[in-house]
């Protein structure tokens, strides 16, 4: 490494250091002040307020907002066991129970494995219903947005 290169290197380092110093002295006034911690102003020894509780929307027809949307669940599901042992959703929504319980039947696409082979039981890839099908609460959107449902094509 030549003399010149070493000098450039030292200069760069000094400049970087200077910038850092400048940054710390200017930043707190503007940009840093806008950054909020996850504590959101609550001291560590204080308890922050509990979030609002929202009720599940029940006994209402919930329409899809777009064609591919997994249908929403118009009832509470938190008490239903869905694990490796049992899936309680299927006790009403799987054939032949759906007729007896007057519940919508699980879509036929859910009885196909990833190769498209037809199965007699719900495919394991579709086992965890609540990954796609969820109940709705009466909560307002967290962030205002312009989302609008698709209009029917007629």
């Amino acid at each position: 490494m030549g003399d010149f290169a070493v000098k450039t290197w030292i200069k760069t380092l000094l400049m970087a250091g200077g910038l850092c110093l400048a940054g710390t002295s200017f930043m707190p006034g503007n940009a840093l002040a806008q950054v909020k911690s996850l504590e959101s102003g609550v001291k560590i020894d204080q308890t922050n307020a509990a979030p609002e509780v929202h009720n599940t929307v029940e006994n209402q027809r919930l329409t899809r907002a777009f064609r591919q949307q997994p249908p929403l669940v118009p009832h509470r599901v938190e008490k239903y066991q869905i694990d490796l042992k049992v899936n309680q959703c299927l006790r009403c929504h799987d054939w032949p129970y759906n007729a007896q319980e007057r519940a919508p039947k699980v879509s036929e696409t859910h009885y196909m494995d990833r190769e498209g082979k037809r199965l007699d039981k719900v495919a394991s890839t579709r086992w965890f219903c609540t990954q796609c099908h969820v109940p709705v609460t009466d909560a307002k959107p967290l962030v205002n947005n312009l989302f609008a449902p698709t209009q029917p094509a007629n």
Partner: protein, 209 residues
């Protein structure tokens, strides 16, 4: 020494018991008998009720680790009104005759506790379907007697239930269904193979009647 003195003390007590009292008045014997009888009865029931508490049930680790820890997450433990139904409320009959019968049956559970039949979570899991089916069968046989200590069709205001519950409960009354027919796994996790076992149980029990 005479032959009488060589008799064993047990034999002498037995002999005395067979003879009428020569020392105490009949009245004393009767009053003392009544007092000791009441005390004995009280002590018996006190001990019986002591075994009828949640804290007694979970002195066995099988209960605490499996069934109780699952129960704590359910509506019979925490709910909006704060009324709890603990282990004996559902699993021990309230009526005396049935209660004592259930307590005698429980000695079998004690026996299996010492054998370690369900001594680990794995062993419990392997046995879960059998154990659960026993409870379902009993509840079907007794028309869910223990549920109905609190939940009566007659006292149910179905107009305050949501639409789903209302239509099901109306059907259930008409079809003479019992609580456990639908409400399985309300306080504990359901075992693997629940729906198959349920169908089998319904079939075998409808055939028996």
């Amino acid at each position: 020494m005479s032959t009488e003195n060589q008799e064993s003390p047990w034999r002498r007590i037995w002999k005395a018991l067979k003879l009428p009292s020569t020392r105490y008045a009949l009245g004393t014997v009767l009053v003392a008998g009544a007092i000791f009888g009441v005390m004995g009865w009280g002590a018996f029931n006190w001990a019986l009720e002591l075994t009828n508490t949640e804290s007694f049930c979970i002195t066995c680790h099988e209960m605490e680790e499996n069934t109780y820890s699952e129960y704590t997450t359910t509506v019979h433990n925490t709910n909006k009104s704060g009324v709890r139904a603990t282990c004996p409320d559902c699993h021990v009959p309230k009526e005396w005759v049935y209660k004592v019968r259930r307590k005698i049956q429980a000695s079998n559970e004690l026996f299996h506790h010492f054998l370690g039949t369900v001594g680990t979570p794995e062993k419990f899991e392997a046995k879960r379907l059998v154990l659960a089916t026993h409870v379902w069968q009993t509840m079907k046989e007794t028309d869910s007697r223990e549920c109905r200590n609190c939940h009566h069709f007659d006292s149910m205001d179905i107009s305050r239930q949501n639409e789903r519950a209302r239509s099901r409960h109306l059907d259930a009354v008409q079809d003479k269904k019992t609580c456990i027919d639908c409400h399985k796994g309300v306080a504990h996790q359901l075992p693997k193979g629940t729906f198959e076992a349920e169908a089998e149980l319904n079939k075998s029990m409808s055939g028996a009647k």
